[in-house]
Amino acid sequence: MMNEYTGWLLDLYPHPESGIALWLLCDDGQRRYLRQDFPVTFYAAGQSHRLKDLWKFLARQPIPIELSRTERRDLFTGATVVLAASLDVPALLPELFQKLTNNFPDLNFYDADLHIALRHAAMYGTFPLARCHVTVDERGIIYEINVLDSKWDSDIEIPPLRILTIETDVDPTHDQPKQIHFQTKRNCITLDLKKANLNLGLLNYLFKQDDPDLIITSHGDTWLMPLLLKLSEEQNQPLPFNRDPLGEIRYKKERSYFAYNQVIYRGQQFHFAGRMHLDINNTVMYGDYGLDGVIEMARVTSLPVQTVARVSPGTGISAMQIVTALENEILVPFRKEQTERAKTTSQLFREDMGGTVYDPIIGLHEDVAEVDFFSMYPSIMVKFNISPETVNSKNLTSELVTYLEGMTDDKELGLIPRTLAPLLEKRYRLKNQLFTLSRLDCRYKNYKAKTAAHKWLLVTCFGYLGYKNARFGKIEAHEAVTAYGREVLLRAKEAAEDLGFRVLHLYVDGMWVKQSGYKKAEDFQPLLNEIQKRTNLPIALDGIYKWVAFLPSKQNKKVAVPNRYFGVFQDGEIKTRGIETRRHDTPAFIRETQMQILEILANAPDAESLKECLPEIRALILEKQNALRLGLVPPEKLIVHQTVSKNLNEYRTPVPAFSALQQLEYAGKPLRLGQTVRLIYTLGMPRAHAWDAGNGLDPRRVNLARYRQLLDRAVDTVLQPITDGDRFWFTRVRQLLFLDVL
């Protein structure tokens, strides 16, 4: 007998015996465990005698593998003869593939190391939390699965997820927690860690009662789960974190790696079967877009929620490319195979360039419009069909760029533009809707989170074209994008100058312009139209600043810094880049003070009136200085965050970060590369107090002079434009401001 169900796809993973297991949150409220036959196929290409060896090797394996010789399309070389191997048990593929890479390193493998969710997405169009209609037999085996919604829809029917939050009373990296709080919509339980015998039965009761779909933890991966699982083992009391009783908790080790010129740390991970686990402290960009953004990331990339939450946006965009390739029956290589073509020095100088970045005109400017191209690089990739396989297929990139011609004449998009086009279209649609929505509208926050998630995917998609490990990367495509970017920005500059605007700054995809008497959005509309006409790319007015200040370099006051400015839009919104408020290592006390000064300045009706704000700013600074001197600033607000970029033995001088790391080492809490060390500057030696070392801080040891120096610098930064760079005037401002203290 066949049954039919409609609901949301909660989870999907390989079943240890055969096919895959799926969890469906059905419309009747039941969470159903279903199975599906899902053979997976991988391919190998290379010399024929080696392929024969591989055939024999696979035929000898104890598991049934269906072998055949076939032809598949390689993105770069076209039709390729390959050996195809199909397995009914996807769970066995990783182990088998490990053997193959060891025994046949000379062969090229395709579609071999792909996430099962991506294969399923390509085959059935599924994605996490997709609305699905399934037809199953009495054993729960799926015969038919249809997806009812699209990942590109703006509004989705939100699944009624049951959420369990687990939190500790204190941050475990700072102090030993005494309690763990478990909270669902109906129940609240507190485990007292001081008690000798913890009652884990209560937790079991909670799982039985509420059966959560999503478990949101704070420090779950790094502290909570290891503790709970240890207790569960000691008490022989299994905890049902997995909904699937046969499923295993998937554990991933912590790791540090080097990317984008910095060391990045990823903590260990615990993934559950049938439920989703999110550790908000181990989730990439959670602070930027929250749960809504994580779910959107999962939907558009097709990666499971608990996976996508812990990987970089680059892995997300790579997953989207893989799905596009699988849907179009293009082979997905295990490793990148494309290398950079040989170039002369002169070619390198001409082609190996980034985006255009001007030095802005230093100082305070009034009534400045900031115009930005909408997702410039992804738009360029789609508009001009830039993809690894389309580059140089017609003419030399330099010639095409001059006339803004596409990479190909035909309408068929390359792999990368085909992947990006729907994402770009969705972001454009949501951004336009956001312009018209009130901030109080219930959709506003959700749309904002979604566009933030899209932004990170689109930002990384350009970098991935040139990334050394990207499967579909090619440096020439990466260079082509920047070449079009430079041409487009220069055309925008020329359009602005032709219309009589003064170009104050150009920064990759944005332009700051002004013209005497131009203050309203409609004054700048002819410029936007002209730029759009000359470039064929969407451009928008980001806003009109009441005033904006471009700051000079700290080392040389005559040289501007491209990305160091702040300003106030006509609607009162403050924008800052590159100053203390934006720096991760700035203590909260300094950041807040600088922001408060900017808020006072934002109240001034125009740039002329900024000087009138000085008395109020002076009072604020005096108050802050006094608070600092009298020890009234809470120590938490003096914490400096620094990323660990080298091991303890690599430090040559006892800088504060070294002292803090050493203290943590003694306290048995060593940090790994890429983790953040929290410290407070102290007097004498050691120069810093490690906030998380576990020993208290004597407030008398705080290096107030150092914090005073940081405060003065932050104040100087934002008061600089009022002084017009005149040192004499600046000194008088300083005297005026600090008169009472002196």
């Binding site: 020095t345 390198l348 082609e351 980034g354 001007y358 030095d359 430079r486 005559k558 501007a560």
Partner: protein, 95 residues
Amino acid sequence: MGNVTPTITDILHAEEANLAKFRRALRREDQIVFDDLFTAAYKHRAAAAYAGHLLPFETFLLAMQIEDHKEVMHLRAEIENMRKMLEAFKAKNDE
């Protein structure tokens, strides 16, 4: 960019470092002029990068020249203004 070929800022830094001995041997007042010239070159890094010239120092020299000429044009305009003011003042006095 930056991985294979040096960035334009790196090249400019290198050129400045190459001339460190030359700068050292200059008189203090000339060192200030030297530094000013390099500051002028820094202002046109974007244009120098876009030019993609094999000998970028030539573009830096031109950038120095541009800033110099801008200054000359500015001073010319100032003098012209002052001359006009002076003539107007003289004409007024003659009346």
